[in-house]
C-alpha cells in the first residue's frame, strides 16, 4: 500500500468503514510511515473538532411550546389550503405567485375588453365603415332592453349605437356595465376568444 492509497483511506479508516484486511494494511503502513501518521492524526483532529461543535439549547420553554407552534402551523395551513407547502419543500410562495400571476391576467383581460369597447365606441365608424344609426338600436339602448329577438346587439351594431344618453345618466362603471349588457353574448364570446 502506497502513501497515496493511505491518503484515500484516512476517513474510512477512522470510521472503521471498509474491508478489515484493508484496514489492517493501513495500520501496518502507519506504523512505519510518519507522514501518513501525521496526516491521519490531522483528519482525526478535524473529526474531533467537528464533534465538539455544539448547538445552543433554545431552552425548556421553547421545547414545551414547540408542539403548540406545530399545531398552530398545521391549522394555519389547513385554513388556507392554497398556501400549503409542498412535501418536497418547495415554497408555497411560488404557488401564490402563480395564482397572483393568473389573477393578474384575468384583470388584464377584463381591462382589455373595456378598452376595446371604448375604442369601438370612439373609432367604430371608421373601422367598420357603417354610416348612420339604426333607430331600433337607439331605442334598445335607451330602454335597456335587448335587441330584436332577445339576442342583444352584434358587434357592428353595438359600436354604432348611440350611447350618449347612457354616458350622461350613469357613472363610467355603470355605463360600461349597461353597455356590456346590451352586447350579444355570442359576440362577447367571440371578442373574448379573439383576445
Amino acid at each position: 500500500m502506497t502513501c497515496n492509497d493511505i491518503q484515500n483511506m484516512t476517513v474510512p479508516y477512522l470510521e472503521l468503514d471498509g474491508d478489515p484486511d484493508h484496514l489492517r494494511e493501513v495500520t501496518a503502513h502507519l506504523e512505519f510511515c510518519l507522514a501518513c501518521r501525521s496526516e491521519m492524526e490531522a483528519v482525526r483532529q478535524v473529526l474531533v473538532r467537528l464533534k465538539q461543535r455544539r448547538v445552543p439549547d433554545p431552552g425548556e420553554r421553547f421545547w414545551r411550546e414547540f408542539p403548540k407552534t406545530v399545531r398552530a402551523g398545521i391549522l394555519r395551513e389547513r385554513m388556507a389550503p392554497g398556501t400549503a407547502m409542498l412535501q418536497d419543500g418547495r415554497s408555497s410562495g411560488r404557488l401564490w405567485a402563480g395564482r397572483a400571476w393568473s389573477s393578474g391576467w384575468s384583470w388584464a383581460l377584463a381591462a382589455s375588453v373595456v378598452i376595446l369597447i371604448i375604442g369601438g365606441l370612439l373609432f367604430g365608424d371608421q373601422l367598420l365603415h357603417r354610416p348612420g344609426n339604426n333607430p331600433l338600436q337607439t331605442r334598445t339602448v335607451l330602454t335597456g332592453e335587448p335587441g330584436a329577438g332577445g339576442q342583444g346587439l352584434d358587434w357592428g351594431d353595438f359600436v354604432e349605437a348611440d350611447w350618449d344618453s347612457t354616458w350622461d345618466e350613469d357613472d363610467s362603471d355603470t355605463a360600461l356595465a349597461r353597455m356590456a349588457a346590451q352586447l350579444d353574448p355570442q359576440a362577447l364570446d367571440r371578442l373574448l376568444t379573439d383576445i
Partner: protein, 181 residues
C-alpha cells in the same frame, strides 16, 4: 415498552391527541439540531423545524412507511433547508448593491477577525451543499451511509463520497493553510 413511531402514527390517525405530541417531542430536538447546523441561527432553525413537522403531519397520508418516520422527517427537513439556503443566497445576492461602501481594509479586517474566531464554522459553510449535508448527517446524527443516501436521495456510495470529500476539504482548510475568502 415504548411505542414505536408507527404505532404512534396509527394512534394519531385515529385522532388520539397525545400521540401527536409524543411524536413531536420524540423528534423535535433532532430536527431542530439538523436545521441549526444547516442554517446556523436560532430563528431560522426554529421556523424550519416547525415547518418540517407541519409538512410531515399535513402529508402523513403519503408516508408509505418504507423508511423510519425519523428518516422521513430528515428528508422533509433537509429539503426545506436546501430551499432556505437557496432563498437566502438569492436575497443576499439581491442586496449586495444596497450595501454601503466601506473602506476595503475594514471589510477584510472584520472578515479576518470573524474567521479567526470560527475557522471551522467558516470552512463548513463553504462546503458544497451535498457535502455539508452528508457531513451533518454523519457526524452529528450518526446515520449509516445507507440511511444518508436514503435521506439525500442518492446512493450509499455517493453519500460516502460526499462525506469523505467534506472531511478532506475541512482538513485542507484547517491544517493545509488553504486561503479563506
Amino acid at each position: 415498552m415504548e411505542e414505536t413511531d408507527y404505532q404512534l402514527l396509527d394512534r394519531y390517525a385515529a385522532g388520539e391527541e397525545p400521540a401527536f405530541e409524543e411524536l413531536i417531542r420524540r423528534h423535535q430536538q433532532t430536527i431542530y439540531d439538523l436545521a441549526y447546523r444547516m442554517l446556523e441561527n436560532h430563528a431560522d432553525a426554529a421556523d424550519l423545524a416547525q415547518r418540517t413537522f407541519v409538512q410531515a403531519f399535513l402529508h402523513v397520508g403519503s408516508f408509505r412507511r418504507e423508511s423510519s418516520f425519523r428518516t422521513w422527517l430528515f428528508q422533509i427537513g433537509l429539503n426545506l433547508c436546501r430551499n432556505a439556503i437557496r432563498d437566502r443566497s438569492r436575497t443576499t445576492h439581491e442586496n449586495v448593491e444596497d450595501l454601503p461602501l466601506v473602506a476595503p481594509t475594514d471589510i477584510f479586517d472584520a472578515t479576518a477577525k470573524s474567521q479567526m474566531r470560527d475557522r471551522l464554522g467558516s470552512a463548513i459553510r463553504r462546503l458544497p451543499d451535498r457535502q455539508r449535508e452528508a457531513l451533518v448527517l454523519r457526524v452529528y446524527h450518526d446515520h449509516a451511509f445507507a440511511e444518508i443516501g436514503a435521506i439525500m436521495s442518492c446512493s450509499e456510495g455517493t453519500a460516502k463520497a460526499n462525506y469523505h470529500h467534506a472531511v478532506n476539504r475541512l482538513r485542507q482548510v484547517l491544517t493545509g493553510g488553504e486561503a479563506t475568502p
